[in-house]
Symmetry: C2
Subunit: 323 residues, 2 copies
């Protein structure tokens, strides 16, 4: 870092949200609910109105989730001047449109206007920070902090630095997001699309292919997830979920059984070669993720979770049964 | 059909589960909980023990969900003779290992032993029925009834016939599954992998690539879904979820904004060309799926659902906030 980080993550009081569309506005709502002062900027003439509408719409939900002490939607300031928005910020979240040139210029401008030692995070959906930080005078404090829509409800934030980012800024951002109630994955590698977006982008592209080919309707695609794998994925990730398909033999048995299916045309995405190294990495990774829990314990955990999700989403009591 | 369908879907009392591994055993547990008599067959010497263990493990969960009147785990009969298992069945669910030759031979043998007019469904993960029904004397009653693990908890069943299947058998199976408490998608096309498996297979293959390339650990892959998109997918499918990323402009605005991202290397799955026809089909499909609900109403619905899922899965109250 060209200058030491200013506030400790625990002491941040004021956050700037740069760009106030769906994501930037969602961030503003989240930070307000967690008790921060929020200053927002967006170039659109009606940005202030739209942002307040978004925060007002989210507020009952955020209230039901439990607001931080002192949290108030009134602690939002909207300004038409970018420099003013970040002048007193202790953290900056940039959520501008997904255009690389725009991000490069905006991050440089933000870097010039933001107090030294303040971390600036980009909500980019997939650009590596290395590609975005090229024009900034101090790229060391620029990190990716990639949220999921809506940022006020979905906990995940993926944090990664670029080649010119100081690792202290990455660590600071990860800790700050945790303090602010998010669930953080700190990435070592700058993988385009990060992790979750690579996964959901694969699913999205397959869905687009299916619509383009008349394989399935939009409605059936959505139903196939909400009534199927989506119920599991709220509770247990795709890797451990598939491990449980192997029964008491876990992931190793699942790969033995379904490995050949990787050659099947069950998606337009070609599978990697399931060689010994990948086989071992997946099995060992599942063992590590299971963290001592037996398959039976994982099954019980998944089942409890899915039952609660079924109950919470009003899906119980369907069907007529045999009588 | 070579003979009329025997029982009406509402009057079925006895179901045969052929193959008693994780999926076949899960089906047995489901049908028992819905009040059916279940006869199960599996060639493994310890199949009976394993099946009863699986049913016993699932029973408290099924009890908490609410059993059908008269439902009892004691109404399970395990037999070592395939012909005996199906002799009095009014519906047959085949859940043998995912090997095409095995499925072909087994379905032919089942067809020979099952009373005429009884529908036989295969749990295959992705083989088209046209490829599996080649050896059966009466292929007209053979359908795909593809469940998700565990079949006693995840509602979705994808139903499809093959070229030699009578559409009456497809309709009968779809109605039967509904009566038995499942959520059914009846497919017009024999797409390999059906719908949900094509989507989750794309995600799974991308995950395997990421492990193979050292992009992410198994644990991070799972966390990225359970703390991220997975929370939305239990509530709203991927298409409508993405429509909401377009803000008040919905899917059209989302495609305008993120369309160019389809060229980004955010997954190893190449995207289809987002031409006018696909653009229109996706936008129109989302409008149809929204079924008159405005974007604001969909956002409120998603938010209510995600809040309930967060609450149900114990994810509330994290973070320290600004105070």
């Amino acid at each position: 870092m060209t200058s030491p980080l200013m506030a400790s993550p625990e002491n941040v009081r004021r956050v700037a949200c740069v760009g106030a569309g769906v994501i930037g506005g969602g961030w503003a709502a989240h930070f307000l609910a967690r008790g921060y002062d929020v200053t927002a900027w967006d170039p659109a003439p009606d940005a202030g109105q739209r942002l307040r509408r978004l925060v007002d719409a989210a507020w009952p939900t955020l209230t039901s989730l439990g607001l931080a002490e002192g949290a108030s939607a009134d602690r939002l300031t909207v300004t038409g001047a970018l420099e003013e928005a970040v002048a007193e910020a202790e953290f900056v979240q940039e959520s501008a449109p997904e255009k690389l040139d725009l991000k490069r210029d905006l991050l440089a401008r933000l870097d010039a206007a933001t107090p030294q030692g303040v971390v600036i995070a980009s909500s980019t959906s997939g650009y590596p920070m290395t590609d975005m930080q090229t024009k900034a005078a101090d790229p060391s404090r620029l990190v990716v902090g990639h949220p999921f829509n809506p940022p006020y409800l979905i906990p995940l934030v993926e944090v990664a630095g670029g080649e010119s980012t100081d690792q202290a800024a990455v660590a600071w951002a990860s800790r700050f997001y945790e303090v602010a109630g998010k669930s953080v994955i700190t990435m070592d590698n700058e993988v385009p699309g990060f992790i979750a977006n690579r996964l959901q982008e694969a699913l999205w592209r397959e869905a687009l292919h299916m619509v383009a080919n008349g394989d399935a309707t939009v409605r059936d695609i959505d139903l196939s997830i909400t009534e199927g794998p989506g119920l599991r994925w709220a509770v247990m990730g795709p890797m451990l979920t598939f491990a449980l398909a192997g029964g008491e033999g876990g992931m190793a048995h699942m790969l033995d059984h379904f490995g050949p299916s990787l050659k099947s045309p069950w998606t337009r995405l070609e599978a990697p070669e399931l060689d010994a190294a990948l086989y071992d990495a997946v099995v060992a990774g599942c063992d590590e993720a299971a963290d001592g829990r037996s398959i039976a314990e994982l099954v019980a955990e998944r089942d409890r979770g899915v039952v609660e999700v079924l109950r919470a989403t009003g899906r119980l009591g369907r069907g007529e049964g045999s009588r």
